[in-house]
């Protein structure tokens, strides 16, 4: 009898095949949350969503409702949205600005950095220990070029070490603003699909699927641009590469093969003709084509394990909801201080592919649905072996053909490493004998406090 949380049961040593139950098993999913999502760094938001002192947004981190807030010194906090008194959430809005969060149930008040500063009618308490009753905070928060990451693991490695080779591509994504800052101020499309979070993880840097799953997209685009095969930069003859960037991060790099396809695609947007006429007056002619192309896509798809992808002009956050339910958040980024037309084209190209009514993402979701149907059959394995024999591994970042499944293997192998590291002593009954929440220390301290109070 295998342990349902033993990663080596689910995939082979090369990561070249994976069992279907890796996408289904509830015990494995629970272990992923504790061993991966509560242990590593997670993307939680972009600095431009909370640019000023007091700004906040609410979101979740591994199921926990949190407030991502910027205090008066500019420091970013990730606070669990729950009054320490009787449990009500202290912040209701998706975004806003507040110096204090007040629980409206009994009036306890917290600073936007989490400290408990006000207990109403305090004469009812003899020795309330305010410093220990601040909003629970996520212990690690680091910001890299406005990308806010948090970790529930106090001992997580420094963020920059975690980002490894992904850092270079985050830089490229940010530098596409040509010195002007990226902004997340048009909202976030949310899409859901009835499948495991790893289906989206695998899909972001899957260069094999576009010419098939997105066949109709490339057909209608090609008929407008006049390209015979508008998806050829991802075809079998493409010179583009897939790379592993370390720590499970991966890249599809089609910059050397996409040509002027993105520039042509940018011109398909409604109002494009008028926009380009205006841009010609505002932008040097030799920069215009690049600006137009960059308004669609930078030529690479980046996956930052486990919950962040940078594709096109958007930031994508993967939110596991259950073993078989996932929400994906798509935040298109505009650039502060460029001509309006550039940002309009960025939004149009985003809507074209990534909206729920778009010409791209719904077809991916449909494939995830079909995979879910396939799981009902007796066939056990999903094959990830494409290109295994032609991987080039003697460079810092192993690479293979853009259509090869090197990214999926790299993601799965990193997954297995984290799952193995978290594998705990298992009793003969097969139940874990050690709980392993990253918040153990905090929970323990809270429990000790409660016990102290009970004794009193």
């Amino acid at each position: 009898m295998h342990s349902p949380t033993d990663p080596d049961y689910y995939l082979d040593a090369a990561g070249s095949r994976v069992r279907k139950t890796a996408y289904l098993d509830p015990d494995l999913y629970a272990a992923e949350l504790t061993r991966i999502f509560e242990k590593t760094w997670l993307y939680v938001g972009h600095g431009s969503e909370i640019p000023n002192a007091g700004d906040y947004k609410t979101t979740t981190i591994v199921g926990r409702p949190v407030i991502v807030s910027r205090d008066r010194t500019g420091e970013v906090h990730v606070l669990q949205n729950r009054c320490r008194h009787r449990g009500a959430s202290v912040c209701q809005a998706p975004t806003g600005n507040a110096r204090f969060f007040r629980c409206e149930y009994h009036g306890w008040t917290y600073k936007n950095s989490g400290e408990l500063v006000g207990v109403t009618f305090p004469d009812g308490y003899t020795d309330i220990d305010k410093p220990s009753l601040g909003l629970l905070s996520v212990p690690r928060v680091e910001v890299y070029r406005d990308f806010i990451f948090a970790s529930l693991n106090p001992d997580a490695m420094p963020l920059l070490d975690h980002l490894a080779g992904a850092k270079e591509f985050i830089d490229l994504f940010v530098d596409a603003g040509r010195g002007k800052p990226l902004e997340a101020d048009h909202g976030t499309h949310q899409l859901e699909y009835p499948g495991n979070w790893k289906l989206q993880l695998e899909n972001g840097c899957d260069g094999y699927h576009p010419n098939f799953a997105h066949r109709s997209f490339f057909r209608v685009v090609g008929s407008r641009t006049g390209e015979d095969s508008s998806g050829s930069y991802l075809g079998g003859e493409s010179k583009a590469a897939a790379r592993s960037l370390g720590n499970g991060h991966t890249i599809l790099d089609q910059r050397n093969s996409v040509g002027d396809h993105y520039t042509k695609r940018s011109l398909l947007a409604p109002d494009a003709e008028e926009i380009v006429e205006e841009l010609k007056r505002e932008v040097p002619e030799d920069e215009l084509d690049d600006l137009l192309g960059d308004s669609v896509h930078l030529g690479f798809n980046l996956t930052v394990f486990p919950n962040l992808q940078l594709i096109g002009i958007h930031i994508r956050e993967i939110v596991p909801v259950s073993p078989t339910q996932t929400v994906v958040k798509y935040t298109p980024m505009t650039i502060d201080g460029v001509p309006d037309g550039i940002n309009q084209l960025r939004l149009r190209s985003h809507e074209l592919f990534y909206s729920a009514a778009g010409f791209g993402v719904p077809d991916d979701s449909e494939m995830f649905r079909r995979v879910a149907n396939g799981f009902g059959t007796d066939a056990e394995w999903l094959l990830m072996s494409r290109g295994l024999e032609r991987e080039v591994t003697d460079e810092q970042h192993p690479y293979a053909h853009v259509t090869d499944e090197l990214p999926q293997r790299a993601e799965w192998l990193h997954w297995a490493g984290l799952m193995r590291a978290g594998e705990v002593a298992v009793s003969t009954a097969g139940t874990p004998t050690v709980t392993e929440s990253a918040l153990d220390a905090e929970l323990f301290a809270e429990r000790a406090l409660n016990e102290k109070e009970a004794v009193r």
Binding site: G187, H189, Q190, V220, L268, L347, F359, P362, E366
Partner: protein, 158 residues
């Protein structure tokens, strides 16, 4: 045929999946707009769920009728109920194309796909050109209740 009859016919065309006929209702300079934010004041500077000119709307229809649109295989079946249509005098946003009348109505849309029914509701606003028996759509705006929450598959026209 009144404008109201025309609007009801448009809804029936969509429920009958007569997409080429549907696209034929739109003018050359049309816009088909479903904002992300119910209160969006205009589409160009906003993030939208849909913002089509005639080319993009025709591409949308080409995908629906081209036999290669996976997210409509199997296709969605829809049934929509329109509320009482109201003539609008001062719309906050107007398309650049010339129009004669603006009408708005609430809608309820049930979508059946793979034995699952999904309910949508919201408001349609139509900017119409024409008169008497001859109408065309200069703009159709679809305010979808909850466009900002997790959505799944809106590849059938709203």
């Amino acid at each position: 045929m009144s404008a109201i009859d025309f609007i009801n016919d448009e809804a029936m065309l969509l429920d009958d999946r007569r997409y080429d006929d549907w696209a034929g209702l739109f003018t050359e300079d049309c816009r088909y707009w479903a904002p992300y934010d119910w209160y969006a004041s205009e589409p160009r500077g906003s993030l939208n769920v849909i913002y089509d000119d005639l080319n993009r709307l025709q591409d949308r229809v080409s995908r629906l009728t081209g036999g290669d649109l996976h997210s409509q295989d199997p296709p969605s079946k829809t049934a929509r109920i329109l509320g009482h249509a109201t003539r609008i005098k001062d719309a906050e946003w107007n398309p650049t194309g010339a129009f004669d009348e603006v009408w708005a109505t609430s809608f309820r849309l049930s979508e059946l796909r793979r034995e699952q029914i999904t309910e949508y509701s919201g408001r349609y606003t139509y900017w119409l050109r024409g008169s008497g028996d001859d109408w065309s759509i200069v703009a159709k705006k679809v305010q979808l209740l909850g466009a900002e929450r997790p959505l799944s598959n809106l590849t059938f026209p709203l």
